[in-house]
Symmetry: C2
Subunit: 276 residues, 2 copies
């Protein structure tokens, strides 16, 4: 069986382990290339994968936060994971992705893992009222899009890229879409992490045009458990995002990732640099 391009993109090999610190080696792949570096979601998935691969890791991810310090360049990189603190049920991690002879840090990250317990549970947020993925048309990507987009099937219900290129400014930056891996791939925390960054910059919709922009910080809070993700298989996920404030070269975005049956798998926030 051929390896899924996503599994190829997040493949890491362990270089060395010393106490609570592990060094991992990986390399960028063409299939998840964005404009001047790999798709930021793939980079975030690599950070997640380095933690999931750690023999010291216990429990499921609760939070993952990255700041992108510089563009990841084509080729090899190293990820260093460090277990900062642990109790019987929680773990706190620091992770950095670095490249080149001077070990330039491209990503600075922290994460928390925990063993979940059965507790009172409730969903307060509601999934947007949309037709099921099967009833929605697959979005035909316009020619010339960046490579990573070809690895996903998008069914866009609101706020597509054509609108963002229309020259027509909008007061509402919301995008709502079904997203799935192409070819289908069973969901896990690594792929869910990428889904959290699968939105083009909200400012495109606000301005009705493409302006230089890139995520500088990504924060993810996970509600999904390994079991729930396993049960979902390769089901499309409903992803919805909206910007809140734009100014001084930065805007924020709040986004939610839902299972088809309306469970909030992840609540995520990002800060995006833009120009003009």
């Amino acid at each position: 069986m051929t390896q899924h391009p996503f599994d190829q993109a997040i493949e890491l090999s362990c270089l060395a382990r010393e106490g609570d610190t592990t060094r991992w080696a990986g390399a960028t792949t063409e299939s998840y290339w964005n404009m001047i570096g790999p798709f930021g979601g793939t980079t975030a998935s690599l950070i997640m994968q380095s933690l999931l691969s750690s023999p010291q890791r216990s429990g499921d991810p609760i939070s993952l936060t990255l700041t992108y310090a510089s563009a990841v360049r084509q080729g090899e990189f190293e990820i260093v994971t460090h277990l900062v603190s642990a109790t019987r049920s929680t773990q706190h991690w620091s992770v950095q992705l670095a490249q080149g002879p001077d070990r330039t840090v491209a990503v600075n990250a922290i994460a928390m893992f925990a063993t979940r317990r059965d507790t009172w549970a409730a969903s307060e947020a509601r999934m947007p009222d949309v037709p099921p993925a099967e009833a929605c048309e697959v979005f035909q990507q316009p020619p010339g899009v960046v490579p990573w987009l070809h690895n996903y099937t998008f069914r866009v219900l609101q706020g597509n890229i054509l609108q963002a290129r229309s020259g027509q400014a909008s007061e509402d930056s919301t995008s709502t879409l079904w997203v799935s891996d192409k070819p289908p791939r069973p969901l896990d925390f690594a792929s869910l992490t990428s889904y959290c960054d699968a939105f083009f910059p909200r400012i495109y919709l606000r301005r009705g045009q493409i302006v230089p922009a890139g995520t500088v910080s990504l924060n993810i809070y996970f509600h999904a458990t390994s079991d729930r993700l396993a049960q979902l298989g390769s089901a499309p996920l409903l992803c919805t995002a909206r910007g809140l404030n734009y100014g001084g070269g930065f805007f924020d975005q709040n986004a939610q990732i839902w299972s088809p049956d309306g469970f909030l798998l992840a609540n995520t926030q990002q800060m995006v640099w833009y120009k003009e």
Copy 2:
């Protein structure tokens, strides 16, 4: 002039500097004590203050993210700031707060600072439609509340602590309130950081009762600039928070901090551990 209790709580002295790494010393104060440790907002402010105090720091904070690894114990602590990466206009930091002879990490944090530029700007989110602070009654705190609450004036418009203790479960965890330092203190990034954590756990409102709970991760995206904060003086800020999903021992909270004239100063998200 007597030092404001907040300035006392975030006071740090530089112990040593070596290259891009600086060690700071501080101590907990009684006035911002919570139940079993200092108010988490004060701890977050200390992390912010260590960065603001750094001679290497340039620009304004864009993002600050903390995970709370263990309760800060009464007494002295050390903060280590490390400048991970810098360009002409951006800086990426790692920060840890540790305590005790074994240097137990209580807080693991990352932050990004940047020099902002004039760009196209817009506010997409709208401040809740509420009366001005002056027209709102000051919330009379019930007897026996934790010490840190006495350092703030709350004018609660929705979701107060009495409701959260009523035994009456609620479908909506929203709290909306005007918050100001008591006695008044000119706003800065350190105090704004605390405001981002000035909400009791959303689950209290959902359950209508107090259950064991504590923030494990706090993420803040700043839209305020130093200039804007200076112009606001010690004006009350409108703070609004809501939970999205509760399960497996953790819930999330999205919150926004607004200036009286409707500018979104900070968009913040946190993950909270709870029991039962």
